[in-house]
Amino acid sequence: MQARATSRISSPRWLSLGKGLILGSALIAFSVWTVIPFFWMIITAIKPNSEIYRETRLLPRHPTFQHFVELMTQTNFLTYLRNSVIVAIGTTIIAIVVGSLAAYALTRLTFRGRALLANATIVTYLMPPALLFIPLFQVAFQFHLTNKAVGLIPIYLIAAAPFSTWMAMAYFATIPKELEEAALVDGATRWQILWQVITPLALPAIAVIALFTFTQAWNEFLFALLLISSESQKTIPVGLAELIIGDVFQWGPLMAGALIASLIPTTIYLIAQRWIISGLLAGAVKQ
């Protein structure tokens, strides 16, 4: 006993030096790897063109905001920004309403078709959009959803509605049934229970669903590329990607735009990190 106690005190201290070195170098290596693209994005955004294209220096000598000004005044970036905001907020609101209503019914009510619908929801959530984009391209024409930014909202609901339903189901299942049984006895309708009992309790889950749905819609590229061709209707991802297609590679304004486009989702994630991770787990694995 004595021997083991001493060895447990002395050996970990020696080990912790080696362990500390391994941990430290892993952290440094992974930090460098993570930071390089962000570093290069920011550096390019504030370098004048002469330094981007004519010199071979890593760091800017004369930092400038000219690319941001150019982006705002000589491209349609502000239009893209407006469209992205409309599409992301629209998708988020509808996904939350559709998802909460369905999740309440699927976790709390008894009706025929419930199990089938719950299974269909999870399978759809897992269904990869690449398997659907060719037929959706045609279906979107039939439904007149092409070439307008708001037409993307129903398309984004394909992923957002099953996702929000699934997430809300996982959360609603944790709210004790006794609360609403008491309300039922008091004569409350299901509608009142949903709005006055469940919703206030589910606000944290709704916030997580909103953050996810918003960033997914904000970042989406493929369908925006397929369905939108007018400049006035493009969202940021497509608008940015097409700055590259022109004759000249506009890396300065492009990286300025990339920086602005990243700020919103990364800020959201940094602020709400804890909730998002618990949300990820609720949606995917049991804690």
Binding site: S31, M41, A105, I134, N219
Partner: protein, 323 residues
């Protein structure tokens, strides 16, 4: 005290009375069928119109000659024959090969890197939360932004970041064509997928690690298990379901993502990065606009994902019911 369980088993009497007056419909369609169907209608409409219907259209299209903007003609199995053995078989089988390498290498690398960093972040050290937040950033950044930034990092002139480094540090006098050389392009794209996807693994596995009870480690330490034994006997079994779910989700997402390839290489050079979604895009939208043939590409790949989707959905439904 003993009456409590009974109370919770049988619902309050007023509910009983209400149930007795339920209509015939309720007996066949379930107690709450009106409100249940009302609440789920919006979801059902989305599932039917925007998912079931497009799947049906996709299957139909794959048996048709259909150019964008023209009449469809019945083609039987011609599209499938053309891809599997006919005039397009070379590019089709190339896309199968590329999809496998791309998905396999990316998923395995993300898992190993993610597991390693999750183990590191599971240790106690100052600034741990800052590192954790920072390592999360690539996953939060929009894929298009990530792809564009990497395209500029890989730029084939001496002004691109990697070529700048090579020139300055190693005095290379001609730039490397990371994305234009068929020998490097696929690996260059895979590296970007790993860069953006690893944080998801770190977060999932870290949460999985933190859910393993500390007593198990203490018990193993008392039994004299060394670090490797503890990893094999406690950590790995404890992480098994987290790893399965994470890897399967990530396999579906990686194989089907098109953004990185579209922006970095467009499937080239000489089809070196032609995964199947990129091929479907190229056939259906980008080049010849043959929607029927493009739909057949997706439909052929569908069976590969169905078992994964089925297994994952079983797993996710059962874990959510347990909790």
């Amino acid at each position: 005290m003993e009456h409590h369980p009974e109370l919770s088993v049988s619902p309050p009497t007023q509910l009983h009375r209400a149930q007795r007056t339920f209509s015939l419909g309720a007996r066949f369609l379930g107690r709450d069928w009106t409100i249940g169907w009302l609440f789920t209608t919006p979801l059902v409409v989305i599932l039917l119109l925007l998912i079931a219907y497009p799947i049906f259209v996709g299957i139909l299209l794959s048996f048709q000659y259909k150019l964008v903007g023209s009449e469809a003609h019945w083609a039987g199995l011609a599209n499938y024959r053309r891809l599997l053995v006919g005039e397009d078989h070379a590019i089709f089988w190339q896309s199968v090969r590329v999809t496998f390498i791309y998905t396999g290498v990316a998923v395995v690398s993300k898992l190993l890197l993610g597991l390693g960093m999750a183990l590191v972040l599971n240790e106690r050290f100052p600034g741990r939360n800052i590192f954790r937040a920072f390592f999360f950033l690539p996953w939060a950044a929009p894929t298009v932004v990530v792809a564009l930034t990497w395209r500029w990092l890989y730029d084939g002139t001496i002004h691109g970041f990697f070529n700048l480094l090579l020139t300055e540090l190693f005095h290379r006098n001609y730039p490397v064509q990371f994305l234009a050389n068929p020998r490097y392009a696929l690996w260059a794209v895979i590296l970007v997928v790993i860069w953006q996807g690893t944080p998801f693994y770190i977060m999932m596995l870290l949460a999985g690690l933190q859910a393993i009870p500390a007593e198990l480690y203490e018990a193993a330490a008392i039994d004299g298990a060394n670090a490797w034994h503890r990893f094999r006997a406690v950590t790995m079994p404890g992480l098994r379901s987290t790893i399965t779910v994470t890897v399967l989700l990530s396999t579906i997402w990686t194989a089907n993502s098109i953004n990185f390839i579209y922006i970095l290489t467009g499937g080239g050079p000489v089809n070196a990065t032609m995964t199947f979604p990129m091929l479907a895009y190229q056939i259906g939208i980008g080049g010849s606009r043959q929607l029927g043939l493009a739909a057949a590409v997706s439909i052929i790949f569908l069976p590969a994902f169905l078992p994964i989707i089925y297994y994952l959905s079983r797993m996710m439904v059962s874990t959510s019911q347990e909790s």
